[in-house]
Each structure stands twice: as C-alpha cells, then as structure tokens.
Symmetry: C2
Subunit: 412 residues, 2 copies
C-alpha cells in the first residue's frame, strides 16, 4: 500500500519557492546567507508553522522541524536537503528535496497518519559551497566533520565572515549544531545532475552510494616579463605549465575507469595582462570515482603531471590538497526502503551511484542513509538550464515519502 502526495500542491510549492531568488533566465540565484536565503527560510518557517510544527534553528543555521511519532522512544527519521543555490543555478537542485519532505509532512497531516518514529524535516545551511567553502558546510558541522568555530570564520570573496552573515539574516540559532540523539535513518531526494537516468529511460534512481573525490590545486611560479622583447627561450611562463596540466587532466580519467571524471574548474592568472608573460597561475583540479583507489591514482597523476609541466617550462610549483571525500556505500536498510517504495509505486527505476557530493554523504557517517534521484534533462545542473519534468519531480517526491513511511512505520 502506498500513500500518494498531492501532485498539484507539490508542483505549486516548487513553483512558489522558485520565485524567491528567481532569475530572468528561469533559474535561481539564492546564495547561502544572502537576503534571498533569508527570505526562503522565512517562507519555509511559515509553511512548517502552518502545519503546527515548531522550527528549531541550530547555531549554524540548519533548520529542523519534527512531527512526533506514536512511539516516544523511537528514533526520528530525518528527511530533507538544502534551499541555497549556485550562482544563477537551477530551481530543482536542493529545493526538490526540501519541498518533497514538506509535502510528506503535509500528506501525513491531511491523511491523519501517525508514524511510529518521528519524522524530521531539515534544511541544511550552505550545501553549495559557492559563496562560502566548503560545500555541504552545515551538515559537515552537524556530524562533527568540521569545527563550528572554524567554519564561522570562513569568508566570502568580499571578505564577509560566515558568522556575521548568519547573524545578519537572523538565522544563528540557539540549538547546538550537533545531533541531540540517535537517528533511525536519513533520506534525501535530489536531482541526479548527470545523464544516466535519462539515458536508461528511468524515472527514479535508487542511490546506493556516492563516489569519492579529491580536490587539489597546483600553483606555478614563473617570471613576469614584457611579452614583446623576451625571447621564447628566456621565458618561464606559468600559464603554459598550467595549460599542459589542464590538457592532461582531460585525458587521465580515460586511462583509469569508465566512470572516472576529472575537471579543472578554476584558473587564476597573474598579472593577467595581454602584454605580460604570466608569473603566477593557480589551477584547481578534481577527480571522482566510485573507487577510492582510482581517485588516489588520479590525484597522483595530477601531481606528477604538475611536476613534469613545471620542469618543461622551468617554473617553480607547489600543490595543495583542497578536499578529500571517501566514497560512500549507503545502508542496505535505507536503499531497500527506497527500492521497495519505487517498485510499489510502479516507477521505472534503477540503482545508481551519485557522482556529486550531498549532505546525505555526510549523514551516512552518522546514521543509516540513502537517497532518491530524479532525472536531470541532458544531465545539466548548476545553471539556469537545469530541468526535470514535473512528472519526474513528483515521482521522486512520492518515492521519498513512501520510503520514509516504510522506515518510520515498519511492517513486521
């Protein structure tokens, strides 16, 4: 037996949230701790209070609300995602998982269903990591992966401190930013952000784990000279060394694994003038794969390529680790609940690894966890063209709701 959520209200709620920080291009610009973030948090608070729920805000701005269960000793099931967006990102990334959780709570209220375990909705602070780093900051602090005070001191590119911006938008709460008890499970609905579900013509992804990744950066130090009178053999061009490595990073994944990816997303060139040979170039690099060994090999290849490029061009170099995330295998209990819900609902589905990091990856270190994926058209995300049909959004939300119900009221 499945409990259907209200499709029309669900779609209307998705559209409503998309207006807060909505862009002319049909996307969303709702950076963490911005005015738009405050507005959408206020909006979520209103929705939850309309359901008679009390919103708890922790010291790091993470928002929770609990609908009690029938068993006072039962551990809660946590359901949610994040409401912040990338700069000029899409309207589904994050919001789908929070709206899905909200619709679950509304449906339980409509249908007067009492679950055995409490169900708790969560909106994590700064999942995207585009304004303040690292990504998944709120869930990372909550599970103890990051230190609260250190994360308070992170700054955006204008030098604004996280903690000041959190205060400014009025979401520095009193509740300690850490679990107050054991949790039965955590579930998160999210768009896939890759093309596999669409390629395989599936509506629902049953997420079995998250690939590991390694982010690093290499900086090359050459010599800034006038681009005219400096002969080619006199040059130590930091940008040429960086270009060498960018080219290699395009190639490395194809030598390692079918699902290995490697990316250079960020380059900073100094002095960045048409007429001066660049003397300092920093480039980031990142690799992902379901196998931690493969990720480690890729990282070693990037460092080795940096060294070779520096030697070829006669420049100094250094590299640094930016972030490392081990691959995650989600708990069978939660994967089975998602699988069972999708099957019961009759949705075409397949098991899939997540290529992106998610708050759920953090939570899996603390309690049993899984995720539901909705297909992303053409695999696009993190831009205004991000698109998932309302039909697929609905199927994802319905799968989430029924997977949560399977855990919150177990059938003996």
């Amino acid at each position: 037996m499945t409990v259907p959520i209200d499709r029309d209200r669900f779609v209307a709620t998705m559209q409503e949230q998309a207006e807060i920080g909505g862009t002319e291009g049909g996307g969303l610009h709702r950076l963490a701790l911005s005015d738009e973030d405050r507005e959408v948090r206020d909006w979520l608070t209103d929705q939850l209070e309309d359901l008679g729920l009390t919103v708890r805000v922790d010291e790091f701005g993470n928002m929770f609300a609990r609908r009690e269960g029938t068993d006072p000793d039962a551990a809660p099931v946590l359901v949610g995602s994040h409401l912040d967006s990338q700069p000029y990102g899409g309207i589904y990334d994050g919001a789908l998982g929070v709206v899905g959780a909200l619709e679950l709570l509304r449906t339980l209220e409509d249908e007067d269903i009492r679950t055995e375990h409490p169900i708790e909705i969560v909106n994590w602070t700064n999942e995207e990591g585009s304004r303040f780093q690292p990504a998944m900051q709120g869930s990372g602090v909550w599970i103890g992966e990051h230190d609260l005070e250190e994360q308070y001191e992170t700054t955006d590119e204008d030098g604004n401190r996280f903690v000041d911006e959190l205060e400014r938008i009025g979401y520095r709460g009193d509740v300690p930013a850490e679990p107050q008890e054991e949790y039965e499970a955590a579930l998160e609905l999210h768009i896939e952000q890759g093309p596999y579900l669409e390629l395989d013509d599936k509506s629902v992804g049953v997420v079995t784990g998250v690939v590991g990744f390694y982010w690093g950066a290499t900086t090359f130090y050459g010599e800034a000279d006038h681009s005219g009178p400096t002969p080619m053999h006199y040059r130590n061009d930091a940008l040429v060394a960086a270009a060498d490595v960018i080219t290699q990073i395009r190639r490395i994944p194809s030598t390692l694994g079918e699902r290995t990816v490697g990316t250079v997303g960020y380059v900073d060139v100094e002095p960045n003038s048409i007429n001066i040979i660049p003397d300092e170039v920093t480039m980031t690099w990142g690799f992902r794969d379901p196998s931690d060994d493969v990720v480690e090999q890729a990282k070693e290849r990037a460092v080795a390529e940096s060294e070779m490029a520096a030697e070829r061009e006669g420049v100094d170099w250094e590299w640094e680790k930016r972030m490392r995330s081990e691959s995650v295998d989600f708990a069978d209990k939660c994967v089975d609940a998602v699988q069972g819900a999708a099957d019961d609902l009759g949705y075409d589905n397949e098991q899939i690894y997540s290529g992106a990091g998610h708050d759920a990856a953090h939570l899996s270190k603390f309690c049993d966890t899984s995720m539901v994926f909705a297909p992303s058209e053409d695999g696009k995300s993190h831009n205004e063209d991000e698109y998932t049909s309302w039909e697929d959004c609905y199927k994802g939300a319905n799968t989430l709701a029924n997977a949560a119900l399977r855990i919150a009221t177990p059938v003996e």
Copy 2:
C-alpha cells in the same frame, strides 16, 4: 668630436624623478594622469623653466619645450620619451629617455652650444597603456593615428574618463594635439626590455626598427555542468579547448622565426568554480616578429588552432582582432646618427630591433626617427626588478645627446 653630458648630474636627476611615485620595492608606481603623474610633470616643468625654456602642453597633455637653433627656417629635432610607469614598474622605463633629453638641453646650455636646428624635448602622455588603453596614446593622437575626442572618452577600470583625469591634474593644455610644423627627426632613448644587449655584452643598442605585432583573442563557449556527475564524453569544456591553444602558442614561434614570440597573457574563465565545468573562456594571444608576413602567419596559425581545439572539444568559438601594428624600419639618417655617435664615443654597440612598441614607432610615420637602447639586466622590465646600471644609462644618454647633435648641426 663629442660633447659629454654631466654624468653625476644625470644620475642625480634619474634618482630625483624616481622618488616621485617610488615604491618600497625600489620601483615606480606612476600611472598616467595620477597624482604622481601630475607631480612628475610639475617637476619636469620646473627643470625646463630653470633652463629658461617655455613649456607647451597640448590638448592631450603631451608636454614640449623648445631650445631655438641658429637657423630660423630649420625644422626641429624632437627628443624624449614618457614619464608614466607600469603599476609597480621600474624606474628606467620611459624616464631614462626624458631625463636623457633634459640632460642634453642642460649640456647645451652649460657649454653654450647653439645648434642649427631647434631641439625640442617631449614627454608623451600615457605611453604604458596600463591605466587607459591603448598604449602610446599621447603620441598616437599627436600623429593622427587616434582621434582626440575618442581617446578623451577612454576610461580606467574605475570608470574615470581620460579627459576628466587630465583636467583634474591640470594638464589639459591649449595647444592642438598635432604637429604644428615639419620635424627634422625624432630620437628616443629607452631601456631594451629584452636580454639581447646583455647577452652580446653591448652597452648601446642602435635601434633599426620595431617588430610588428598582432593581438587577438579567442573565446570558447562550452557547457557549464556539475563536475561530478557529468561523464567525460558528455562534456564540452571551454577551458580544455583554451589550454590546447595555449600549448600550441608556446610552439608556433619556434616553427616560424628566430625572433618570433607568441604569448597568452590573459585568460578569463567563467564561472571559474572548482566544481563546475567552464562554459566560457576568453584568452588573448599575441605574436611579434620583424617580418609582417611572419606575424600574419602566426595569427593565422592561432586562429586555425582555435578552430581545431573547438572541434576536438565540441565547443563553439569566435575570435577577434584586438590590435595590429606593422613593423617599422627606422630612417637611415637617424640610425646612422645613433650609430655614428655610439662609435665616436667608443661604446660597444650593436644594431638591434625593438621587440616592444614605443612612441618612436608612431613618430616614424611622421618624420625620420630612431632610438637608442640601454641594456636591461636579465631582460626584465615592467616590474620593480627592472635594472640598468648607471654606467649603461649614462652611455645611452650620451649616445642620444650626440646623435641629436649630429642631426641638429649637420657636419657638411
């Protein structure tokens, strides 16, 4: 017979000007139309008035002062350079040529030498092109290469208009910014900004011409996707295409000519985030060579490489011309005067092409022109490490002075 300038006074004057806008790192930060530029212009005015000369300032801020000759019908010889600097540039670039010209005038006064032709000193406005573009702006307007009113409207990166800044520092003069008569010749002393004189162990460069250059830019348009879940074969990465071209531009000069150079100095990556595949990358490129044919071939290679790189990566692309400067061959009359002066003075010298653009390149389109080069240690310029020994500075200034005398009072 040669007339020597006063070495001690010359060095002291170089040191004096270097204090105006001098940096802690021993360099010079004296951007065009800044407060420091006003101060050094006021200082130059004082020096010239002390010699009993009248300073003329034209509508574009170019400064002139004339010491009359004995023949009222003889055309003047123009001698000078520029007093503006690069951001945190060196103390020799430009200033050496103005101080050399000033010492020439002082020496003539000391020695009570009357030349046949008048000698005119000039300080050109905004040679560097770092605050307002294009470079060599003042001499370009003066010879009619650029339109005065258009150049007035150029802005710095804070949006300040050229004409407003020129008014602000009090150097928008009344004299039309164009030649009021024919000129007999123009001579400019400058540091080499390249390593050839030092490599060949020469103190003086007799400059026979200026290399031509072509500046362009290629922009690649790919697709911005999340760096995690997007498979490698799904990517259209604008930065990978740009890196391909940067690598090729390092190689192209070596296939074309001994003195061909090619540089990518500027790269802009959008959205420039560690976690997003870049969707728009603009890169500039530039080539220089004494042969305009070689420069044209290099430019065609850069465009062809851009096309190939775009095809390989499946991205769109376009390119645009930024600036083209034909190579210049200086007039035999002036080259011979510089050569003769250097030989008479007994200085080790060699004929050399200039790899950088100079005001003299503009002037050569209007009258017979040449330049004198002083060696740059390790070829460095446009930064605080720029260095030329006082001995070499002095030899350059003495060569300039005596070359000017050879033209201003021709020996039958």
